[in-house]
Each structure stands twice: as structure tokens, then as C-alpha cells.
């Protein structure tokens, strides 16, 4: 079979795919010929910052990720910690910043959908969701629209899916005016001996596509690349992804039902750069090749090209490697739940990632190198100097403490968040033992007596002042919130939101925050088991405040020993603990 190569790969096209000239040189060297447009798209997806962590990888490696409680650290869809009795907690946090700025409702909703998929892909039933939100100045003309859209989107998705949204945090600052942050976290529970991973195994096993159909949602790359594909380019313009929480709920139930049997060898959700990332990851992790036949992919729109199918970000989709012989069993379950089910490929022994469409080979690439040979940069960075210490006497005392208190309570930074969390179903499943508004949320596991405590925290202005101290402080605050309800902190996930890492002072913020986080995690035996990095959060050259959001999970052995925030009676002593 030939590899049709009818679109000339120009430097402009390479640039539109976010690849630097030297990165393109590396591609040419790797494959020994000019890539097809589909292959270029695949490289752009695999080698972008989001998938490859090319600017952060060297530093992420310095974080502590181990401990007796850790079952799975970073590198899988979500991290896993042991919670005893043969059960484990599965959790991760992820950003959906840019899409939420473009279309707040759908952007935030699909962010929630993505992180829930990460958790149930591993065989866990989600029991709680949290979110960390940053908006611009409350008086900025766009802020109101963004806040109401994001909150409705998070609620709309989580409520319909059926997971309680039990916690989160919200800040306002002008530095987020043109670049809001929407970080979503999900926590699930699985049986420790029934956890599923992404690595494929076995040659010739069927690769199965599950969930919703593929459309031209959020296709990366470039307007130009898609223009080349047809006359009516107007209609093929990349579009915003719309979430379908109903389909996701069906996907959850169908996946968990199938996982009850021995049918599933490996499973991976299709997140950003959908089919490409999921298929490559499953193959590469299992030291296997993958062959996909795109003619079999369920499509929502007519005449989709291989390029479009490989880069589509349509939501509510999964890829699975099935144990041979279980095809009919699996198909019956997915049809019962009215979901698409299609065998779209198989594993091979040649370590190639081969994509066929309409009788042609559209891509034929070395699968390991797609991931392993991705660029990795040790970017130059400058340390953020410690700010000068502020003497207490330099700060004027307020005229009236009572007035100051009222002013603080009324400020957008400190006022009640009830307006937000009342729009989230925080009670569904009947296990919410501590509702939003306290230190950490507490969610019981099944009928108890065990419960998980969880919290997300970071104070960006501390991180701006001194990233290392801010990183440390964020981890410590999560740890305190979890201990304050009487739980034992287990591990954290994180979402590192920063500006352009190609600027040394921004890179310095990232490095500083990671150093601080690492130090705090080591001191507290509080390892990092999953996380996500979101860079290039800037508008017109001005970066957001450095925002390493930390999400922590702790274990409460007995719900009867939970502590709550409210004073319990009159005439009791109030103690202040700490330095």
C-alpha cells in the first residue's frame, strides 16, 4: 500500500501545527521522509506541550511520588492510593482553561467530563468532584458572564452525570482578565484488584472504540490545514466541543459493567487529541504496534478525513483493548446502553503506528518514538527573588476592626461561595458528610464507616511573591484542611497553571513552585500521584499569576470521629494552635 502524500508540508503548515523548525527536523530524521498531513497532525498532537510535558518534564521528575500508600503514581490516567479493605482511591486534577474562556459553559462542562473519564477509565466509580477557579477582576465586563457560564457548566455536567461536586475554590484577580483558570478534580473508588491501566498487551487483539461518535470538534492545527481538504471550508471550521453528560453517564455504567468480566485488557479515554494520543499511548506503554482502520470509526459527520478523525476532540469516547472472544459480550453491553461500539483496529508486533483510511495508509510511524522521542527542554530560568520583608509597623492599622471585618467578609475574595455551590448537586449519592463551606469536604465510602476528605488550595499571590514559598504553602494548606476534619492526608494531585515557559522568569516561577511543592510533600509524607500542567496562560504578553493548584485526599477511618467547623456549645474554651 502506498502512503499518499498529496499535501505539501510547508514551513507555514509546520508552524501552524505548533512545531518549531528544529522539532520538524527531528521528525524528518525519525521517519526518513516528509510526513503526510495526517502524520504531521499526529506529531503536533503528541509533541505539544499538553501531551509531551516538554517544558516541565525535567522538573516534574523531582517531585516525590512514592509511599507505602501509593499504588499508582503519575503516568497513568489518574493516581491511585490504598485506602485499606481492598479498596483504593483514584484521583486527578486537570485544566480546561482556554476552552472555558472561549465558551464558558461548554468549556467548563467538558473539563469536568474529561477528568471524570480519567477516573472511571481506571475502573473507579467517581464519588466526588472539586474545582479550582480563577477569574479576572469582578468589575471587568466579561467576568460576570464567565463566572455564571463556568459555574453553570460545571454544575450542568456533574449534576447530570451524577457525581457530587463537594468543594473547590474561587479567586478574582485582574491578571486572569483575559485568561481564566478552570481546574477540575475528580475522585473515585475502585477495588484494588480490579484496576485498569492503559498498557495494551497481546498481539492481534482487537482495539475497540466506545462511546459517542466522532465529529469535527475542536480540531487542532490549523485553519489552513482544514481549508485544504474541501471546498466548503466554512462548514468544516473547527468548532467548540459540546459536552453530553448523559452520554458520559451511559459510558460510565457500560464501562463498569464490562469491567466486571475479564474482557478488558487495557483502556484509555480519548481526551485532548483523542484517537491519536489514546492509541499511541496504549501501544507504546505495552511495547506493541497499533493498526487502526478509520473506515470503522463511528462518525457524526460525512466525509471526515483521516486528519480530522485523528485530531478530533469529540467528547465521551474511549478506546479499549479487548481479550479476544469477548467482542460479542462487550458489544451487547454497549448496545444495551445505546452507545457506539466498533472494532477499529488491532495490536501488532511491529511497533508501528499505522492508520488506514479508504484503502490508503495515511500514517505509518514508529510508535515508541512518537512518545519517547518527543522533545524535552531544560528551559533557562531565573529565580524569583525573595521579596523584602514587610514590617508590621509599615502596615497602617485599620480605624475600626469591626469595619475592617465587615469589609473583608464582603470582599469577593472572602465572601460566601454559596451562590456557586448551591448550583452544584453536592449531595447526590447520599454520602456527603461534610458539605461545601468547611475546611475539607468529607465523602463517605459506600455505607462507611470509612470516608475520604478532600480539598483544593493555592494562594496565587503568595506564589507570585515567591513561587517556592507559595508552592510549599499550597501543599501545607491542603494538608491542614484535610487534618482539620480529622483525616490522615494520603497524597495529592496538582494542576500547574503558568504563563509562557519560554520566558526565563516564568520558567523560574514553575521551577520555584515545583521545588516548594516537592519540599513540602517530602516533609509531610504527602506524595504526588497525578497532575497536569497548563502553560502559555497569557494575554498580550502578560502572564497570569503563577497558580499551582493542589488537590489533596485523606482518609478518615471512622466517620464518627469526623471534626466539623462549627462551635458546638456555649462556654467552651477556644484554643489557637500553631506558631
Amino acid at each position: 500500500m502506498s502512503i499518499p502524500n498529496d499535501i505539501k508540508i510547508t514551513p507555514e503548515l509546520v508552524a501552524e501545527h505548533g512545531l518549531k523548525p528544529d522539532e520538524y527536523e527531528r521528525i524528518l530524521e525519525l521517519i526518513g521522509r516528509e510526513p503526510t498531513i495526517t502524520e504531521l497532525g499526529i506529531f503536533s498532537a503528541m509533541w505539544n506541550e499538553h501531551c509531551s510535558y516538554k517544558s516541565s518534564r525535567v522538573w516534574l521528575k523531582t517531585l516525590p511520588t512514592e509511599g507505602p500508600q501509593v499504588i499508582q503514581g503519575p503516568g497513568e490516567n489518574a493516581g491511585i492510593v490504598d485506602i485499606g479493605d481492598g479498596q483504593c482511591a483514584v484521583f486527578k486534577m486537570e485544566s480546561h482553561n482556554h476552552p472555558s474562556f472561549i465558551e464558558p459553559h461548554q468549556g467548563a462542562g467538558t473539563g469536568v467530563g474529561g477528568i471524570l473519564r480519567d477516573v472511571f477509565t481506571m475502573g473507579a466509580r467517581p464519588i466526588a468532584a472539586l474545582n479550582a477557579l480563577r477569574f479576572g477582576d469582578p468589575d471587568h465586563p466579561k467576568t460576570r458572564h464567565l463566572v455564571s457560564g463556568v459555574v453553570a457548566g460545571i454544575g450542568g455536567y456533574g449534576n447530570s452525570f451524577g457525581v457530587p461536586t463537594v468543594g473547590g475554590e474561587v479567586n478574582f484577580h485582574p491578571r486572569y482578565n483575559g485568561n481564566i483558570l478552570v481546574n477540575a478534580m475528580a475522585v473515585g473508588i475502585a477495588e484494588t484488584d480490579k484496576v485498569f491501566y492503559a498498557a495494551a498487551s497481546g498481539v492481534g487483539n482487537p482495539i475497540v472504540y466506545l462511546g459517542s461518535k466522532t465529529g469535527r470538534d475542536g480540531i487542532h492545527g490549523a485553519s489552513m490545514a482544514s481549508q485544504e481538504f474541501g471546498e466548503d471550508s466554512e462548514e468544516k471550521r473547527p468548532t467548540v466541543q459540546v459536552g453530553d453528560p448523559f452520554a458520559e453517564k451511559l459510558l460510565l455504567e457500560a464501562c463498569l459493567e464490562l469491567m466486571e468480566s475479564d474482557a478488558v485488557i487495557a483502556i484509555q479515554d480519548m481526551g485532548a487529541a483523542g484517537l491519536t494520543c489514546s492509541a499511541v499511548e496504549m501501544g507504546a506503554k505495552g511495547d506493541l504496534g497499533v493498526e487502526l482502520d478509520l473506515d470503522m470509526v463511528p462518525c457524526r459527520e460525512a466525509a471526515m478525513t483521516a486528519y480530522e478523525m485523528m485530531l478530533s476532540e469529540s467528547q465521551e469516547r474511549m478506546l479499549m483493548v479487548l481479550r479476544p472472544g469477548y467482542e460479542d459480550h462487550a458489544r451487547a453491553i454497549f448496545e444495551k446502553w445505546d452507545l457506539d461500539f466498533a472494532i477499529v483496529g488491532r495490536t501488532t508486533d511491529d511497533l508501528r503506528f499505522r492508520v488506514k483510511h479508504g484503502g490508503d495508509v495515511m500514517a505509518d510511524l514508529p510508535i515508541k518514538e512518537l512518545g519517547d522521542e518527543a522533545p524535552c527542554y531544560d528551559r533557562p530560568w531565573t529565580e524569583t527573588p525573595l521579596p523584602a520583608e514587610l514590617g508590621a509597623s509599615d502596615v497602617p492599622a485599620p480605624n475600626s476592626l469591626a469595619e475592617a471585618l465587615v469589609k473583608m467578609m464582603a470582599s469577593p475574595h472572602l465572601c460566601s461561595r454559596r451562590w456557586i455551590w448551591e448550583q452544584y448537586d453536592h449531595l447526590i449519592l447520599g454520602n456527603t458528610m461534610q458539605r461545601p463551606g468547611g475546611d475539607a469536604a468529607v465523602v463517605r465510602v459506600d455505607d462507611g464507616p470509612k470516608a475520604l476528605a478532600m480539598s483544593v488550595d493555592v494562594t496565587p499571590r503568595y506564589c507570585e511573591a515567591h513561587p517556592e514559598t507559595g508552592g510549599k504553602q499550597a501543599v501545607a494548606e491542603v494538608w491542614r484542611n484535610i487534618t482539620a476534619v480529622g483525616a490522615r492526608p494520603l497524597a495529592i494531585t496538582d494542576c500547574l497553571n503558568f504563563g509562557n515557559p519560554e520566558r526565563p522568569e516564568i520558567m523560574g516561577q514553575l521551577v520555584g513552585a515545583i521545588k516548594g511543592m516537592g519540599e513540602a510533600c517530602r516533609a509531610l509524607d504527602f506524595p504526588v500521584v497525578s497532575g497536569n500542567v497548563s502553560l502559555y496562560n497569557e494575554t498580550s504578553g502578560k502572564a497570569i499569576l503563577p497558580t499551582p493548584a493542589i488537590g489533596g485526599v485523606g482518609l478518615l477511618d471512622d466517620i464518627d470521629r469526623m471534626a466539623t467547623i462549627a462551635f458546638k456549645g456555649e462556654d467552651e474554651a477556644i484554643l489557637l494552635v500553631g506558631e
Partner: protein
């Protein structure tokens, strides 16, 4: 003057509602139905009597509030 604004999802944008309605129609026995899409209709009345001016006003309402132009397109009918 009265105006009817119809707001529909742009082509290519996923329409989960349309999808669900189509499925429900099929299971009720309306087998052949396809491409079901759901949109919104907004009826309103304006004091403006000049057609051109009225249209311009409704257009401004659509851009500012009624339609989410990232994913939706709209059509205005004056009646």
C-alpha cells in the same frame, strides 16, 4: 412590531438533545426520521415601527444576549 428569532446550533456542533430526541422517535416507531436538531425560538415585541430599525435592534439583542455566537447562529423574522 413583533419579531421571531430562531437560534440553531451551527453545523458540526454536537447536539446532544437532537440526538436523544431522534433516538426516542425511533423507539416510538418513527424509524426513518433523521438529522433531528433542536433549536430555540424567541418571540418578542418592540415599540419600534420602522422595519429596518427594528431588525437592527433585534440583531443587537442577538449578538449581545440571545444567541451564543460561538456555537449558535440566528435568524430574525419580523412579523
Amino acid at each position: 412590531m413583533k419579531a421571531n428569532v430562531t437560534i440553531t446550533l451551527k453545523k458540526g456542533v454536537l447536539d446532544p438533545q437532537g440526538k436523544a430526541i431522534e433516538g426516542a422517535l425511533h423507539s416510538l416507531g418513527f424509524d426513518g426520521v433523521e438529522n433531528v436538531r433542536q433549536g430555540k425560538l424567541i418571540e418578542l415585541e418592540l415599540p419600534e415601527t420602522d422595519r429596518e430599525a427594528a431588525r437592527a435592534q433585534v440583531e443587537a439583542m442577538c449578538e449581545k444576549l440571545l444567541a451564543n455566537t460561538v456555537i449558535e447562529s440566528y435568524r430574525i423574522d419580523l412579523v
